[in-house]
Amino acid sequence: MATTTFERWGRELTIAGAIVLFLLPLIGIPGKTYLTLTIAGLAMGMLLFLVASGVSIIFGLMDVINFAHGALFAWGAYVGFSIFQRLMNWVEADSVFQNFAVFLIALVAAMMVVALLGIILEKVIIRRVYGFHLFQILITFGATVVLVELIRVLWGPNDEVMIVPLTFSRNWDILDIIVYRYRVICIVIGLIVYGVIQFVLKKTKLGTIVRAGVENRDMVQAMGHNIFLLFTGVFAAGAGLAALGGLAMSIFSRQVYPDMGSTYLLFAFIVVIIGGLGSVTGSLVGALIVGLSYNYVAYLVPWAAAGVNVLIMIIILLIRPTGLFPAGK
């Protein structure tokens, strides 16, 4: 086939191309600003990764397009919001320990509540429409409407300001470059989550079975593994990741609003399409590409920022229709 040269050199060319593209904005951006934008882009990328990885794994294993992921994301943000409200004095305390403790409490609560919602969603609704993409889209869209409406009922219909643990809103001054602490925290959270997912998928038996299921569900079943239990578990984990993403994003943007999920879900889908459905590494790379290019372009050509990711997605789809890291199907 005509693609052999590309295949042989594809890896090297891709890496070289990525480095060039990554450094290209330096032509138009002063060095210090470039560094600030890079950190912002990496942070945004990691936040998107948290949302996209759940979408990607759920699609990869279960072949389910889950439009309700955005609503689960919003629920995560709101549960965290409530915890912060309850424990206001910990949030506002001038104590790194208390700030982190309240963040962890909010995180665990958000992930548990939303994972539970995910389990209900999978068992009650999605289980009925395995294998039918159109119904999945309609039914998860319906679930989104219900979940968002519930947010309006429980927390009110208006935008709310997300109070942020004090230490998260500080910044470091490193050689005259202002580094927002929370951006670094986001990057660290993203890396940890990526590491944990990779560890579970690659090093544990359960993860190995999940990867096998991504390739061939029937075979995994015929080997004696209860694929439905696996589906529920993966769905719950994906929902938990959405909650983590929602909480982290609401701290980043300092607001929550009932419909916040749909905005980020769109980004998440772009990330997943760029990275390749079903691949966690693909989601990470795709998310970083989207985060970085969004920030560079927003600085250079502000009006083009929203469009650039769609453009990248189209280009990548033209070169590699299965995304950068296609998972074996």
């Binding site: 190995t208 096998a212 079943q221």
Partner: protein, 240 residues
């Protein structure tokens, strides 16, 4: 005569709107290899998938060791002790050979470790490619892996769908050798088009045609029945 470990009784299977199995019945007797033969599209693969539960039957009974299994889920049936090697082998290409085997192992105890050793004795190539991605294996090696995955558990019945497909004659001989060894500890139901292989390992046969069993009996009788062979299997004396 020995007891049948598997009894398929009047089973019907639909795929979508298509009525594929139209009331088939066959047995797998203990300590024997039963071969299902028949033209392309006769319903052989459908029969195995129905037994393991990947395709639901709409009518009829399937008994395994005296229990009805036709309403059970594939993973429940597999856990009762049935191993399945599908026609396309169902290898997890992105996983290593080792990982493929680990996914197959339902428990990782001493007994499984011994079965693994025994399995690697039969298929020594697998040991050589232990850490390699299963996707890079040759067709024959993939087939070995597929069978190895099925016999590493404590299975008492193995369903193997056309293992000789696409293999060179010398590998077919190796496969015959392997199945003769597996026969020592598991009952086998084999779908096989290669009559040389079918007659080398089979004790009993059933001929399927258009979703029905049209003949069954002892393999040694079929070997000598020129009329039956030419009618359903397209084998004539001249071609042998």
């Amino acid at each position: 005569m020995s007891e049948a470990i598997l009894k398929v009784e009047g089973t019907h299977t639909f795929i979508g709107q298509h009525h594929i199995l139209q009331g088939i019945s066959f047995d797998a007797k203990a300590d024997a290899v039963t071969v299902l033969i028949g033209r392309n599209g006769a319903g052989k693969s459908t029969a195995l998938k129905t037994v393991i539960g990947l395709l639901p039957s709409s009518e009829g009974r399937i008994m395994f060791k005296g229990n009805e299994i036709q309403k059970k889920k594939p993973y429940e049936i597999a856990r009762m002790g049935i191993g399945f090697v599908p026609e396309d082998m169902g290898i997890f290409a992105n996983l290593t050979v080792e990982e493929n085997m680990r996914v197959a192992m339902l428990v990782e105890d001493e007994a499984t470790a011994q079965r693994l050793e025994r399995t690697l004795d039969i298929f020594s190539d697998l040991g050589k490619f232990w850490k390699a991605q299963a996707g890079i294996l040759s067709g024959g090696q993939k087939q070995m892996l597929a069978i190895a995955r099925a016999i590493v558990n404590d299975t008492s019945l193995l369903l193997i769908d056309e293992p000789s497909k696409g293999l060179a004659p010398i590998l077919v001989d190796a496969l015959i050798e392997a199945i003769n060894q597996i026969k020592e500890y598991s009952v086998v139901v084999l779908v096989e088009q290669n009559f040389y292989m079918a007659s080398s390992v089979g004790d009993y046969f059933y001929i399927l045609d258009d979703g029905m069993v049209v003949h069954g009996g002892l393999m040694e009788d079929l070997v000598n029945d020129e009329e039956l062979k030419s009618k359903y299997l397209g084998i004539s004396k001249a071609a042998e």
